[in-house]
Structure formats: structure tokens, C-alpha cells
């Protein structure tokens, strides 16, 4: 009797257990797709005070300014180094046949932090204000390259731009770089550099507090047009000393640092608990500017010989400990879409031959060449605050010494350095290339007048061609032509492109995305839609389980499911047989 009961009871139990197994095994697996995390607060250490973060509160390097401005203000298109324009405050832009008139449609329903509505009037006002007012880091986009003759609001969401000459990259570069100011606030501001109120923008964060030389506090803009950002509050203490900054990251007092990790710290920092390193793709270079009015630098052959006498790879290996790329005469950064690779030939013998031909020879056999009777001795001015640049200059001096040219590094305080650079009171000067100088073609064209003082008749022709180009392709072609010209007649000696490695605490936040030209500390790291719009993975997505593992899991699950089904079928079959036999037995 009990046996019968048992026989009867274990069947449903078996079926139940097998059924449960199948259900459990075939339920969707957690993990794989990353959820966008909601983090309440993040602490980011930054290396310098950049003022109250209006476009006019620019300060010289070090430190990031435009990315912080970008937290508070928006541009019309996403950023100026993309392949195609990505809509942001503007949804589309179209030009007329010769690219002199552009019609831009703006997004609807965007509001300023103070609740006012964002309209085309704000855009028109901003471009006029930048063009006619005091200069800042962005004004060249409206006042020089190109000259935006007029920006007119046709209606609440349409703006018409007219350029003096064809401006085919207006949507790609200009509209993507220039932050939009609120007209209702800035129309009363006469002296923008004395505007000290907290900025009002359309951006994903509001600057809630700014304590000079101490810290910034940003609060999320819940009404942001792309939805609330992933981090609720960002606090940014200002920590000028690099050792303190990275020590604070190691012991968890901050979650990330905006300063790139110096080569010598990378190994030890990467080993700290929860600290990860990522290449930020922020454009950086070190180049030497020539004073082409100071003999013998006024001779093209001499400059070319200098270019050939420098062993850039050795500089990367020694000074950067391998964390960088050798420079190229192209001047533009290799990750910029405008870059055309040109090999910097390292050929000291050829350099010597060129110098001999130019008549700059070592006539008295003392190891140094003479020019017009005087030994060639050039001085190079470097910032005293940058040990990497100083060390680089010393190494380059050694290399140039091999071809008989004496180079004397002179380190100056940053204030004096700026003044002498601007007054052209130097022979060679060490410069740090900032992203928009080596990534933004319009800035480069402008800088060839002001910063680099490049005078070459062939270049004049190319420059005219650039200004007359009516399409992006044409401008691209011209830029490539200019860079080919640079091989014979470099405007500057680009030494190397240092890697820009950033450190972050992965347990605090891992939504960082490296965006070319900007690093990882910018608004797109906090906007959940941004990785998809940009087609870039977050650091979290990069460290997700690799494909093979996921594939293996699927097979495993399939096997288990199949096994469970087989067992179930077998069990049912056996039970049937058993009961059939049983009933047979009963019948007996």
C-alpha cells in the first residue's frame, strides 16, 4: 500500500523537479548588457583653477577648461573632431551650393538653467557677441576662420549663418566647438572677463558652487534635453600638486584625476586597488617653434636639417618611457581626421650634408659649425614648471650637438615665457600643443599667422585654396597638401605626441568614455546616450566578459536544457511503461 503510494507520489515530484529545472535553466541570464549606473556623487580632482567656467574664464595650461565649460554649456553639434557632425543643440544643418550660407535647425524644448527657453535668438546673439567682442579661446570661429558675417534667427528654431568666404566645415567644426551663451544674461555684460556670477547654460550640469582656488561643485540638470545625467553631484577639488593628486586617488579621497598620469607613475598607480588606467585620446604634442626671422633659422634648409637631426623615437623612449608616438612634420595630431601621415626622417648624415651644402660648415674642426663666421648657437626657451619639456630640450641639445649645432636650453617662469613667446623674443621655443590647436583645422590655419608665423609662397597658394574650398573633401585635400609641404618646410619641429593616460577608481564610477581630443573628463561620460551616439564604448563595456565566454555560456545552457528535456521525456516514457505494467499486474 505504501509502496503504491510512493510509486504514485514520486512521479509528480519527478516531473515537478524536472520542470523546475527547465524553467530555471532557460531563464534569461543576468549580466552581458551593461546597465547605465546611477551614481549619487563623484569626486574629481582637477589641477588648476579655471575661474567661473564661462568661455571667457580661460587660463593658460595646465588644466582643462573647455571640457568643464562643456559641462555647463552646450554647442550646436557634439564636438569638433568627429567624422560627421552629430546633432546636439542643433538637429540639422544644410548649406547652399558654395557653402557660404547655412541654415541650421535647432532642437525644440531646451531650457536654460534658469528656466528661460533656449531659442535661435540666443544662437544669433552668441555668434555676434563672439565676433565683435573681446577675444577668447572660441572667438576665432566667428571672427577669423571663418568670418561669420551674420547669424540671423529666422524663427524660434532656425538660424541662418552667412560666411564671408565659403565655410564648408561650419557644421563639422565651428558649430560643434562654440558654446552658446544665453542672450538674456550676456546682452548686459560689457566686460566679459569681469563677469563673476555663476554661469547659466543649457548643459547637463549646473555650477552650484565655486570657491576660488579650492573647489567646484556641479549639480545635475534634471531637465536636460537628453535626460538626467548619470551622476547626481560632481565635486571637483583643485589640487595643484601632482603627487598629492595621485596620492589622493590611491587612498580613495578622490575618484579620478583630470591630470594625465606621468609616465613614471603609471606602473605603480595601475597596481593600486580599484585604480584602472585608460588611454584618453586627448590630443597632445610637444613642438618647437622657430623664430624664422633670426638667422640662420631664416633659411629653409637649416630648419629642414634641424628637423632631420632629431631622433624622435629616442625622445619617446627616454623621456616618455615609451608612452607616446614620435612626432611628424604634419603638425596635426595623428588621431585627428585631418591628419596625413608624413614620416619624420631621422637622418643625421643627410642633415649634415644639407648643412654643408648651405655653407654652414665646421671650418675650424672644433666640432661646431659656423654661420657667417660665428659658431652656430641657438637658445631654446622652456617652461621651468615642466620637467618633461626641460629634459626633452636637453636631449635634443645632445642630438643637435652630434651634427655640430649648439642648442642651449633656457628655462623661464611661465609668465616671462609667455611674454617672450608673444613678443617673438626667442630663437626656438618649446610649446605644448593643446587639443584644438592640433585637432581643429581652423585653429591651425589661424595659428599659422599668429603663433607659428609661417611664411612660404607655396603655402600662400594653399591657404587661398583652403579659404575658397566649398566642400569638406576639398578642404581635406588642401589640408593634406599643406601637410605635405610641411615635410620640406616644417612650421615647427613636432617632437612627439605623448599618450594621455588617465586614472580612475573603477568601483566608484565606470561610465568614462575616451573621446578624441577631449580625454575622459567631459560631459559625455555622464550622459547615458552618448556612447551610442559617438560609437565609443565606456570603460565598463570594454572590461565586460569577452565574446568566447558568453558563447561558451550559451552552449552550456543549451546542453543543460537539452539534457533536462531528454530526462523529462525519458521519465514520462518510463512512468507510462511502469503504469502500463502495473495495470497489467492489476489486471492479473
Amino acid at each position: 500500500m505504501v509502496r503504491g503510494a510512493l510509486e504514485r507520489s514520486w512521479r509528480p515530484v519527478l516531473v515537478f523537479v524536472l520542470g523546475l529545472l527547465i524553467v530555471v535553466v532557460s531563464s534569461p541570464t543576468a549580466g552581458g548588457a551593461q546597465q547605465s549606473q546611477q551614481v549619487e556623487r563623484l569626486t574629481i580632482a582637477t589641477e588648476a583653477d579655471k575661474g567661473n567656467l564661462t568661455p571667457y574664464s580661460f587660463r593658460p595650461p595646465p588644466g582643462i577648461h573647455s571640457e568643464l565649460v562643456g559641462l555647463v554649456y552646450d554647442t550646436l553639434f557634439l564636438h569638433p573632431y568627429t567624422e560627421e557632425p552629430i546633432s546636439w543643440l542643433a538637429t540639422e544643418a544644410s548649406a547652399n551650393a558654395d557653402a557660404t550660407v547655412w541654415t541650421v535647425t535647432l532642437r525644440d524644448g531646451v531650457t536654460w538653467h534658469d528656466g528661460e527657453e533656449f531659442t535661435a535668438e540666443d544662437v544669433a546673439f552668441t555668434y555676434d557677441y563672439y565676433r565683435d567682442g573681446p577675444p577668447n579661446r572660441y572667438t576665432h570661429h566667428a571672427s577669423e576662420v571663418p568670418v561669420v558675417e551674420s547669424a540671423e534667427a529666422l524663427d524660434a528654431t532656425t538660424v541662418e549663418f552667412t560666411c564671408e568666404q565659403p565655410c564648408p566645415t561650419l557644421d563639422l567644426v565651428t558649430l560643434a566647438d562654440l558654446p552658446i551663451l544665453p542672450q538674456h544674461i550676456w546682452e548686459d555684460v560689457e566686460d566679459p572677463q569681469t563677469y563673476t556670477d555663476l554661469p547659466v547654460g543649457t548643459g547637463p550640469y549646473r555650477l552650484a558652487e565655486y570657491v576660488e582656488d579650492q573647489s567646484y561643485l556641479f549639480e545635475a540638470n534634471e531637465d536636460y534635453f537628453l535626460g538626467p545625467p548619470a551622476v547626481g553631484e560632481i565635486e571637483m577639488p583643485i589640487v595643484p600638486d601632482p603627487s598629492s593628486m595621485f596620492l589622493a586617488l590611491q587612498n580613495g579621497q578622490v575618484d579620478t584625476a583630470t591630470r594625465p598620469v606621468p609616465p613614471e607613475l603609471q606602473e605603480s598607480l595601475g597596481e593600486a586597488r580599484d585604480v584602472e588606467l585608460v588611454e584618453g585620446k586627448r590630443f597632445a604634442s610637444i613642438f618647437y617653434r622657430f623664430n624664422a626671422e633670426s638667422p640662420p633659422l631664416d633659411q629653409q634648409e637649416f630648419r629642414r636639417a634641424l628637423d632631420m637631426a632629431v631622433d624622435r623615437q629616442a625622445l619617446v623612449d627616454t623621456v616618455l618611457l615609451g608612452n607616446g608616438r614620435a612626432g611628424s612634420p604634419s603638425f596635426m595630431h595623428p588621431d585627428s581626421r585631418w591628419f596625413e601621415p608624413q614620416d619624420a626622417a631621422f637622418d643625421p648624415e643627410q642633415a649634415g650634408a644639407i648643412l654643408d651644402e648651405a655653407g654652414i660648415t665646421d671650418s675650424d674642426g672644433d666640432g661646431s659649425r659656423e654661420y657667417e663666421g660665428e659658431p652656430v648657437s641657438l637658445s631654446i626657451i622652456v617652461s621651468a614648471n615642466d620637467p618633461l619639456q626641460i629634459r626633452t630640450a636637453e636631449l635634443v641639445a645632445q642630438q643637435l650637438g652630434e651634427v655640430g649645432i649648439e642648442l642651449v636650453p633656457e628655462s623661464l617662469d611661465p609668465g616671462t615665457l609667455s611674454q617672450r613667446q608673444n613678443a617673438l623674443d626667442f630663437e626656438l621655443s618649446s610649446f605644448q600643443g593643446v587639443p584644438h590647436l592640433i585637432g581643429d583645422p581652423t585653429q591651425m590655419i589661424e595659428s599659422l599667422e599668429s603663433l607659428l608665423v609661417y611664411s612660404n609662397p607655396e603655402y600662400e597658394g594653399l591657404r587661398e585654396e583652403w579659404f575658397q574650398s566649398t566642400s569638406v573633401e576639398q578642404q581635406g585635400e588642401t589640408m593634406r597638401g599643406i601637410q605635405r609641404l610641411f615635410v620640406e618646410d616644417p612650421p615647427a619641429l613636432t617632437l612627439y605626441y605623448p599618450d594621455t593616460t588617465y586614472a580612475y577608481n573603477s568601483s566608484a564610477y565606470d561610465g568614462w568614455i575616451p573621446v578624441e581630443g577631449h580625454g575622459i573628463h567631459h560631459k559625455w561620460s555622464f550622459i547615458p546616450e552618448a556612447p551610442e551616439l559617438l560609437g565609443i564604448e565606456t570603460v565598463a563595456q570594454r572590461t565586460a566578459p569577452p565574446e568566447e565566454e558568453t558563447g561558451g555560456r550559451t552552449i552550456l545552457y543549451a546542453l543543460v536544457v537539452a539534457g533536462a528535456v531528454v530526462l523529462l521525456v525519458l521519465a514520462i516514457f518510463l512512468l507510462r511503461r511502469r503504469s502500463a505494467r502495473g495495470s497489467d499486474e492489476d489486471q492479473i
Binding site: 587660463r59 593658460p60 573647489s215 565635486e235 571637483m236 589640487v239 579621497q253 593643446v434 585653429q443
Partner: protein, 334 residues
């Protein structure tokens, strides 16, 4: 106490006039010296990629925001009249009134620098007196060795070592800042956070400055203790302690007081390095940043503040001398 005589008033008035003259000279030098350095705020305010393309009108417009486009003499006149009004101009770096900026930094500097001077005087001076009182013994040898060792180490290095040990290795103290960025809870919580962040910079600055105060105190007391009247006091039967404390130290204080007055003048600059290492928002760092950016208004204002501080310290020292040393009192009265 007899009423001050007319002569005393004249002397007092003379002294005030002396100080006023010193202040005027200091203030004028403060105006001239920053402008002698090469470079103008333009080199700082306009990105270098664009400096050569800005027009003279634009250049003047940028300078005009800070009153720097006017002729030098006019700027000087406005500067002097401004001081009398309490208006020190607008900072080129920040765009804000210089007075506000200085007042914001002053408390931090007073706490850090004032605390460091006090501790350095007590510890360094005290150790110096102790060394002198126990000449030739182990105390003196150890004291001298310790303080000379501390004196030889650069402040940057001491600061970093302390940071690495206490913040990095032991994780006891925060690495940077004067206050936590987000407002800490209540009065006591805030005080605790503030105190935690003060410990390392204060310790660093104290260690750096104590060395020479030790030497001054030691040589001063050693000199006094070799005088005849000390021998007389010991012969009278006074204990060593009574002799040293009651007679020796009292007379040896003068040079130490002078040294402290000088300290006040030099320590703010010396604190710059400590402020940078620990991200402490004091005057030293502000001055450094202003020198780099050629922010004349801030430099003028900050140096004025320092000049006033030094003059006050000297005035205080002047007033203290007669109290400490009756011989000085008598001489002045004659």
C-alpha cells in the same frame, strides 16, 4: 604712572611718522616692482594661439577692464587714492575685487602661518634655551643635530614625506584642502575636518621654521649665561633653575623677539610651497599665481597686506622691548 610728556608725544609722533614713511615707500615699491617683470596680463588673458591676431583696440579693451590701459602715473594715483578708500582694484585673473580675494585667503594664512610661528617659537625657542642651559651635554648635541637636520630639508620634501606616510601609508589624514568640499555636518564635524587638514601643513611649516629660532635662542641664552651677573647669582646660592629661568631667559628674550618679528615678514612667502603641496588656499599661493599671471592688482594688494603685517610686527616688537628689558626703557626715557 606719570602723564606722557610733550617730548614723549613728539617721540611717539615721530615713530608713527617713521612707520608711515616706510609704508609709503613699501607701497610705491609694490606698485613698481611687479610692472618691472617682463610680460603683461595680456599674455595671460588671451590664448597664445591668438595673441598675435588681436587688434590694438581689442588689446586695450581687455586691459581697460582692469584699469590697466591708463598711463602709469594715473594708475599710481588711482592706486594710492584707492588704498585710502579701501579699494584695491580688480583682479585680472578672477575679475573680482582684490579686497574680497585677500579677505578670503587671510584667515587660512593667519591660522597656518600664525600657528606655525607660535609653535616654532615655543618648540624651537624652547629647545634652544634648553640646549644653552645644558651646554656641553647630550641634550645640546642631540638638539643641535635634530634641528640642523630639520633645517636642511626642503619644505616640499618634508611635506611630501609626511603626506606619503600619514595620508598614503597610514591613511589617517586627508591629502589636500582646507575644508571638505561638501559642507560637513554641523559645527563640531566641521572643526574636526578643519583640524585634520591643518595638522600636516602646520607640522611641515613648523619644522621648516623652527631651526633658526632654535639657533637664535641658543646663542642668545648661551651669551647671557656667560655674563658676570649670572656668576654672581649662582654665588648668592640661587638654584640653577632660578638663575636660568629668572635671569638668563628674561634677558635672552630680546633677540628671539626680534627673530619672531622678522619671521612674520618672511614666512608668508615660505608658506607658498607648503600651501601648494597641501592645496591650502593661503596668501602664499595666491601671490605665486599672481606673479605668473602678472596680476598687478592682486600683487599690489597682497604685498600691501604683508607690508602692513611686517610693520605691525615690528611695532609690536618695539613696544615689547621696554617691557622685557628695563635697560631699554631707561634709555628711551632719557
Amino acid at each position: 604712572m606719570p602723564r606722557p610728556s610733550g617730548a614723549a608725544w613728539r617721540r611717539g609722533g615721530g615713530r608713527v611718522a617713521q612707520y608711515a614713511l616706510v609704508l609709503l615707500v613699501a607701497v610705491s615699491l609694490n606698485f613698481a616692482i611687479p610692472r618691472l617683470a617682463p610680460g603683461t596680463p595680456i599674455d595671460y588673458l588671451v590664448p597664445s594661439e591668438q595673441v598675435a591676431t588681436i587688434t590694438p583696440e581689442q588689446r586695450e579693451r581687455v586691459l581697460a577692464q582692469f584699469g590697466l590701459e591708463k598711463p602709469l602715473l594715473e594708475q599710481y594715483r588711482l592706486y594710492l587714492t584707492g588704498i585710502l578708500r579701501g579699494d584695491l582694484g580688480i583682479s585680472a585673473q578672477q575679475g573680482r575685487p582684490v579686497v574680497d580675494m585677500l579677505l578670503e585667503r587671510l584667515p587660512w594664512t593667519l591660522v597656518l602661518v600664525g600657528g606655525a610661528i607660535t609653535l616654532a617659537t615655543v618648540i624651537g625657542g624652547g629647545a634652544g634655551f634648553l640646549s644653552a642651559a645644558r651646554r656641553g651635554g647630550r641634550t645640546e648635541a642631540w638638539g643641535l643635530a635634530l634641528f640642523m637636520f630639520l633645517d636642511s630639508m626642503p619644505p616640499f620634501w618634508i611635506g611630501l614625506l609626511l603626506l606619503v606616510f600619514f595620508s598614503g601609508y597610514l591613511d589617517l589624514l586627508p591629502v589636500f584642502g582646507a575644508l571638505p568640499t561638501s559642507g560637513a555636518a554641523g559645527g563640531f564635524g566641521l572643526t574636526l575636518e578643519f583640524a585634520q587638514r591643518l595638522v600636516l601643513p602646520l607640522a611641515t611649516l613648523t619644522m621648516v621654521r623652527a631651526g633658526w629660532l632654535f639657533l637664535v635662542a641658543r646663542s642668545s641664552l648661551a651669551g647671557e649665561l656667560s655674563e658676570d651677573y649670572i656668576l654672581m647669582a649662582e654665588a648668592k646660592g640661587l638654584s640653577r633653575r632660578q638663575v636660568v629661568l629668572g635671569h638668563g631667559i628674561r634677558n635672552a628674550l630680546l633677540p628671539l623677539v626680534t627673530a619672531v618679528a622678522v619671521e612674520v615678514g618672511t614666512v608668508v612667502g615660505g608658506a607658498t610651497v607648503v600651501e601648494t603641496v597641501f592645496s591650502y588656499p593661503g596668501l602664499g599661493r595666491l601671490i605665486y599665481e599672481s606673479v605668473l599671471s602678472r596680476d598687478y592688482a592682486v600683487l599690489q594688494g597682497a604685498f600691501l597686506l604683508l607690508a602692513v603685517g611686517v610693520i605691525l610686527a615690528n611695532l609690536l616688537a618695539d613696544l615689547l622691548y621696554p617691557i622685557i628689558d628695563p635697560r631699554v626703557r631707561a634709555e628711551t626715557a632719557r
